[in-house]
């Protein structure tokens, strides 16, 4: 075998027709898919009907996967930078050459600073065991993911109350009677199965209260929509809790058994009446009262969604936390139509997958972002990536020498790329491993093209839930270009550093065999279905005795010892954000259903549907500024300015402006999207170091922009 080639999974090259079950990779949801391959080419992709909820459905991005596969405007072979960083001058390198180059630089960093001088980031997900094993094998504690600009606040909120992360409590949306959403745009930031459940629930008569600064498509399906003043949903929750406690709308039995700190909670919301909240949020007090009474009447089959992308403002953590407090007050835990505790194989007495991570030696060094040492109330796992950049710049607590981005594009997804670039400039090595030319790849020293999700297999994923299951991303076709799967790339780097023991497998099948060893599942069975349920009957925990929260008290804690210790309030007073000057707006960003966050903008089929973003502002407000619909406008923030189109609509709050994230790209090789539209992250000047101190997520929607006709 050519030592420079990654072995395909057996059978990938066989001629004729094959049906392969896999997991979509067009966004981070990773829906189960069924792929039809004809003579080595993908001819059809649909949802994997072996997953009942999924059925044959697929979203537009998933449906555009063949166009992505056939697109030439993606990295095709390893590239080594020749000009200045970001200058766009590259030379083609062989894999051996690129990997040797990387290994030599990494060895230099290890010699100078130790393994801890290497930082790595990805976008989390069910295959993270592989990446974590790689980073640990390098001897670094500095594994990061994207979550500081995503769900960290919700994660920490959930941990502070239940001792479990946000995925520890799944939502039974399909059976709910009332779902409360705080800017969680289910329909456009979509997950296929979740949307289907949501539409099923609405079809069965469920209600939905949707709270946002603008009317999204989710608002268009909701039974109640409040166009709220930007960054004030926390006040609304405080008023909800006020009414729930004042009018005894809560599940007294559940609260008595499972909640500690009710008195403190009561004290904290003494003054947060609906009338008070009306002044903060603009939502009429009468409507707040009517809504919470209506919701409480349907308890326990109700859900207050704690948010997905919660890196919004300095009180996002408390918004999520109070949403979960409302869940506890409604007694909706381990309830149909409420929240169901996610169970793993262990909960059902089954042996789970063997983790790769346990093969790597333990790393004793502290994290460079201070998570776990300076910041003990944050979850150590992926740390907080925004804290990496100030650490690189200051060299404290220790100097860093290299950064590897794996399918993560911080220069697009974190705020203020200029500051990030200053930090990156201090490093000896920047590597991007990606299927796309990301903005970060364009700034890197080496780009390693990963095989696309259709061209690679991934390690087996084990998913917790009401019933745990296994999911397989099988390899559908051979790589079209000179690209490689991640497991091979990581192994090859480690081999060159003499650290490959933990990932020393010849083929992906060998990794799968290791993962499955000792379980009851055979690879054949898993491959024949793609998604394999591990238990037939769902078991619920005993709501009287067995909920088993992972807090010190075993109960839902209104006062969190970890926050106490960090000197942070568990039940914080509301901070009233200052009103904007005329012509100024809070910048809010989001998605449409046919683009993912930032790497489908150049896809031929999706670019055709939307090739440029526009800034939404309120029609009346725009009129006052002399701006007409479709005008070209200049948008400014803290010295940065950009131009784009405006969309005037009455369906956005006068103090907010909105744009779809991911545009304004600067990589000329992406010809369809190059230079089109505006980049919200560049307007977020100063927001890299601005975060919710209790939750850790960035305060992105505190960005204030000014807008005028260009």
């Amino acid at each position: 075998m050519d030592g420079n080639k990654a072995p395909n999974v057996k059978g990938v090259d066989s001629p004729g027709r094959r049906t392969v079950y896999s997991l979509c990779g067009m966004c981070a949801v990773r829906c189960p898919i069924q792929v039809e391959v004809q003579d080595g080419r993908v001819v059809w992709i649909q949802g994997n009907p072996n997953d009942k909820t999924m059925g044959t459905s697929l979203c537009a991005k998933g449906a555009a996967a063949i166009a992505f596969e056939n697109d030439d405007e993606r990295p095709q072979y390893p590239l080594i930078r020749t000009g200045a960083r970001g200058g766009g001058q590259w030379r083609r390198a062989s894999w051996d050459e690129a990997l040797d180059y990387i290994a030599e630089k990494l060895q230099g960093v290890i010699d100078k600073f130790g393994g801890k001088g290497i930082a790595f980031s990805d976008r989390g997900g069910p295959f993270a065991d592989l990446q974590k094993t790689f980073v640990k094998s390098l001897g670094s504690p500095n594994y990061f993911n994207h979550d500081c600009t995503c769900g960290r606040n919700a994660q920490h909120a959930s941990q502070s109350l239940f001792g479990m992360g946000r995925k520890g409590l799944g939502m039974d949306i399909k059976n709910t009677k009332h779902l409360v959403l705080y800017g969680r745009n289910m329909i456009e930031s979509l997950q296929v199965k979740e949307v289907k459940d949501f539409m099923d629930a609405l079809g069965k008569g469920a209600k939905c209260t949707y709270i946002d600064v603008r009317a999204t498509l989710t608002a268009s399906k909701a039974s109640r929509f409040w166009m709220i003043r930007p960054n004030t949903e926390y006040a609304l929750n405080l008023a909800f809790i006020h009414v729930v406690l004042a009018e005894n709308l809560y599940d007294a039995d559940f609260v008595k058994k499972w909640v500690v700190g009710l008195d403190e909670l009561r004290e904290s919301v003494k003054e947060t009446t609906p009338e008070w909240a009306e002044k903060m949020t603009g939502v009429p007090a009468g409507e707040i009262k009517a809504a919470i009474r209506e919701i409480a009447a349907d308890r326990p089959n109700v859900i207050f969604h704690l948010g997905w992308m919660t890196a919004r403002h300095r009180q996002s953590f408390y918004t999520s936390r109070t949403a979960h407090i409302l869940n506890a007050l409604m007694g909706n835990i381990e309830q149909t139509g409420g929240l169901i505790i996610a169970k793993g194989t262990g909960d059902y007495g089954l042996k789970g997958l063997n983790k790769l991570d346990q093969r790597a030696p333990k790393v004793e060094d502290p994290r460079v972002d201070g998570v776990g040492t300076k910041f003990k109330h944050f979850d150590k796992g992926p740390g907080l990536m925004h804290l990496l950049f100030p650490a690189i710049l200051s060299g404290e607590p220790y100097p860093m020498g290299a950064y590897i981005a794996y399918r993560h594009d911080p220069l697009t997804s974190l705020p203020d790329p200029d500051v990030m670039k200053q930090a990156l400039d201090k490093l000896d090595l920047i590597v991007s491993i990606d299927v796309n030319y990301s903005e970060t790849a364009w700034y890197a020293d080496v780009i390693l093209p990963e095989a696309t999700f259709l061209e690679r297999g991934s390690i087996i994923a084990e998913k917790k839930g009401a019933k745990p299951n296994l999911q397989l991303r099988d390899q559908c076709i051979s790589p079209r270009f000179d690209s490689r799967p991640a497991w091979w790339i990581f192994r090859e780097i480690l081999r060159r550093l003499g650290k490959s023991e933990p990932l020393e497998f010849e083929t992906l099948e060998d990794i799968w065999a290791y993962q499955l060893e000792g379980t009851d599942v055979s690879l054949e069975e898993l491959r024949s279905k793609g998604v394999l349920g591990l238990v037939s009957k769902e078991e619920r925990r005993d709501r009287d005795t067995g909920l088993g929260f992972k807090t010190a008290s075993g109960k839902v804690e209104m006062i969190s010892p970890a926050l106490d210790e960090a000197g942070l309030p568990s039940l914080a007073p509301f901070y009233d954000p200052p009103a904007n000057e005329p012509g100024q707006f809070n910048l809010v960003f989001g998605r449409v259903a046919y683009h993912n966050h930032a790497h489908t903008m150049n896809n031929p089929l999706l670019n055709e549907l939307m090739s440029e973003n526009a800034l939404w502002i309120n029609k009346a407000t725009g009129g006052e500024l002399g701006i007409g619909d479709g005008d070209t406008i200049e948008v400014k923030s803290n010295g940065y300015s950009t131009k784009g189109k405006v969309r005037l609509t009455e369906f956005i709050h006068p103090e907010a402006a909105f744009m779809v994230h991911g545009f304004g790209r600067t990589v000329p090789l992406q010809t369809r999207t190059y230079g089109k539209g505006m980049a919200d992250q560049r307007l977020m000047k100063g927001k890299l170091t601005s975060y919710d101190p209790a939750g850790g997520g960035n305060c992105l929607t505190e960005t204030v922009i000014s807008v005028k006709k260009a």
């Binding site: 059809w44 649909q46 949802g47 059925g55 044959t56 459905s57 697929l58 979203c59 537009a60 998933g62 449906a63 555009a64 063949i66 166009a67 329909i187 979509l190 296929v192 949307v195 289907k196 539409m199 079809g203 069965k204 008569g205 009317a215 498509l217 608002a219 268009s220 399906k221 909701a222 039974s223 109640r224 929509f225 259903a593 046919y594 031929p604 089929l605 999706l606 055709e608 549907l609 009455e650 369906f651």
Partner: protein, 172 residues
């Protein structure tokens, strides 16, 4: 009229455009033509709530097709048996008469092939016992495809359930 009907439940449609992309992907179409379009109207305010309606527009496979009548080369044909109206690409001379003639804009122009293209209900898939691409992948399964004299009754069922709910629970 073809014997088939493609029905959209607008209330369940979410405007995700998976239908349009699935269609284009299946037919390997370049930028430009869209054999089906899910048109959205709104948002408009109805009873103080924002509401959007969707109208799914494939080809209607007319009984007496305007497009077929004007086609000078015999490229547009009606399939015996099920009445599907389709374009035989080898016969299309690219005159665009059908594009002018169709009252609903269903006939499209493929700039790469320099020929007209239109929805054929994915007849090759139908012949394999499958459903059209848009219907198969429709994210919420709000598109239904079937024989016109056996139309699904989902909307009636939902309406009946709603009436019953209101009757049992007068306060709403």
């Amino acid at each position: 009229m073809s014997k088939y009907y493609l029905l959209q439940d607008s209330e369940r449609c979410i405007g995700c455009l998976a239908c349009e992309v699935s269609c284009k992907s299946n037919k390997s179409l370049p930028v430009g033509p869209a054999l089906c379009k899910n048109m959205s109207v709104g948002p408009v305010e109805i009873k103080s709530l924002p509401r959007v309606r969707f109208v799914f527009m494939p080809c209607f496979h007319c009984e007496d097709p305007w497009c077929l009548d004007v086609c000078p080369s015999g490229a547009i044909q009606k399939r015996a048996g099920d009445g599907i109206v389709f374009i035989e690409p080898n016969l299309c001379i690219g005159c665009k008469s059908c594009i002018t003639a169709c009252p609903w804009g269903a006939c499209q122009w493929d700039p790469a092939a320099a020929k007209a293209v239109k929805c054929d209900y994915c007849k090759d898939r139908l012949d394999e016992g499958l459903k059209p691409a848009c219907v198969t992948k429709c994210l919420t399964q709000c598109l239904e495809f079937g024989v016109a004299d056996k139309l699904p009754s989902g909307r009636r069922e939902r309406f009946a359930a709603q009436i019953a709910r209101d009757a049992f629970n007068p306060k709403g």
